[in-house]
Subunit: 209 residues, 2 copies
DNA sequence: CCTCTTTTGAACTCATGGGTTCAACATAAT
DNA sequence: ATTATGTTGAACCCATGAGTTCAAAAGAGG
C-alpha cells in the first residue's frame, strides 16, 4: 500500500511538472491536456483521475512551481544575515544570485503565465502572492533593517529601501532579456549587479559602510 | 471615391481598435473573431476582407496600439527639455506623468499581451520594440545628458542613469498594481514619483542641482 | 490464485471557433 | 440607370480539444 501511495504521489508530481512545462510553453488556452499527459508520461484519464479540471490542474501546477521558486529566492538572501566587513561585496553577491534566479527559465515562465492569465484566473495572484515579490521584499527589508541599526545603511524606511534595491536590480532585466526570452551571459549579470549595488549604496549608504 | 476610402479606413480603424480591446480582455487564443467583429460594429467577413488572418489581425492591432502609447510616453518627457530652477520638481512632474501613463488600462493590456504571446509571436517584440521601453530610455538618456553637461547631474553614463531612473520609478509598480490589475489613487502615484526622484537625486545628483 | 485499486488506450460526444461561400444590399461614380 | 466596390448575415465545412466511457491490463496485498 505504501508503494501504491508512493506511485500515486509520483504520478501526481509528474503531472504537475508536466503541466507547468506545457502551460509555460503554450499558454493556458493553447495547452491541451493530451500533450500534458504525454509530457508527464501518463495517460489522459489519469490526469482527470487526479485533477477535476483543466483549470484546477493549472492552478495546482502554478502553485507547485511558485513554491519551489520562492524557496530559492528567499534562500538567496542568506549572506545578508552575516555580512562581512565589505558590505558592498555581500550586496553584490546577493544581487548576482537574485539576477540568476530571476532570469531562470522557470521563473520567466511563471512570470509570463501570471501576466497572461491574470484576467481569466484573478485568484492565481493570491495563490502565488506569498511567493511573489512581496515575501522577498519583506525578507530583504528585514535584513536591511538590521544593517541600518548597525549604522551601515540609512536608518530610513527599510521597506522602501528593499523595494528600491529590487527595482534597481530587476527593473533593467525586462528590457535586457527581451521579456525573458533571451539568455544573459553571466558576465552581464555581474555587471548589472555591480551597477545596481553602486547606485543603491550611493542612495542608501552611510560613511560607515 | 474619397468618401468610400474614408469609409474603408474608418472600418479598418474600428476593427483594429475592437481587436485590441477584445484581445486585451480575452487573450489571443480565447478571443474569437466573431466577438471582435461585434466589438468593432462590423460583420465577420468584413474583418477577413481587411485582414487575412487572425494572426495578422493580432499583429496589426498590437502595432497600432503600441504606436499610440509610444507617442504619449515620449511626449511626457517634454518638460525636461527646459527644466526650471527646481530640477527636482521637474523630475517629479515627469515621473508622475510617466506613472500615470504606465498604469493606464491600455498600457497594462499591451504589456500583458506582450508577455503572454511572446512565445507564439516572437516577432511582436520587434514590431513594438521601438515603442517599448527602449525608445523611452533613449529619449530620457538624451535629456539627462544635457543636464549632466550643465553640471546638474553626475556626468557618468547617461544611458545608465536613464535606465535606473525608469527602474526606480516603474519597478515598484508591478507589485503595487498587482500586475496591472488594480487602479492606484493619484495620491499614491505622487508619493511613488516623489520617493523615486529622491533616491535618483541621491544617487545621481550634484551639489549644483 | 483472487481481489481491489489504479492505469491505460481507444473510441466517443459535444462545443467552440477559424475561415469561406453566397446571395442580398448599400453606396457612390459615371 | 448602371456598374463597381464594399458590407452584411446566415449558413456552412472542418479541425481541435475538453471531458467521459469502458473494457482490458498491471500491480500490490491477502
Amino acid at each position: 500500500m505504501t508503494t501504491t501511495t508512493r506511485g500515486r504521489i509520483d504520478k501526481r508530481q509528474a503531472i504537475l511538472e508536466g503541466a507547468f512545462t506545457v502551460f509555460a510553453r503554450e499558454g493556458y488556452a493553447q495547452a491541451c491536456v493530451q500533450e500534458i499527459a504525454r509530457e508527464a508520461g501518463v495517460a489522459k484519464p489519469t490526469v482527470y483521475n487526479h485533477m477535476t479540471d483543466k483549470a484546477t490542474l493549472f492552478r495546482h501546477a502554478l502553485e507547485a512551481a511558485a513554491r519551489r521558486i520562492l524557496e530559492e529566492r528567499v534562500a538567496a538572501l542568506e549572506p545578508l544575515a552575516a555580512p562581512g566587513d565589505d558590505l558592498r561585496a555581500t550586496l553584490e553577491e546577493v544581487a548576482h544570485t537574485l539576477l540568476r534566479l530571476h532570469t531562470d527559465g522557470r521563473s520567466c515562465a511563471l512570470r509570463r503565465l501570471l501576466y497572461s492569465e491574470i484576467n481569466h484566473f484573478p485568484d492565481i495572484l493570491d495563490i502565488v502572492k506569498e511567493s511573489g515579490p512581496d515575501r522577498l521584499t519583506h525578507a530583504l527589508a528585514d535584513r536591511l533593517a538590521r544593517l541600518a541599526l548597525a549604522g551601515r545603511l540609512r536608518a530610513a524606511d527599510p521597506d522602501l529601501a528593499a523595494e528600491q534595491f529590487l527595482a534597481l536590480l530587476l527593473g533593467p532585466l525586462e528590457a535586457r532579456t527581451r521579456l525573458g526570452t533571451r539568455e544573459l551571459p553571466d558576465a552581464e549579470l555581474r555587471t548589472m549587479a555591480g551597477v545596481a549595488v553602486d547606485a543603491f549604496v550611493r542612495a542608501w549608504g552611510t560613511a560607515a559602510a
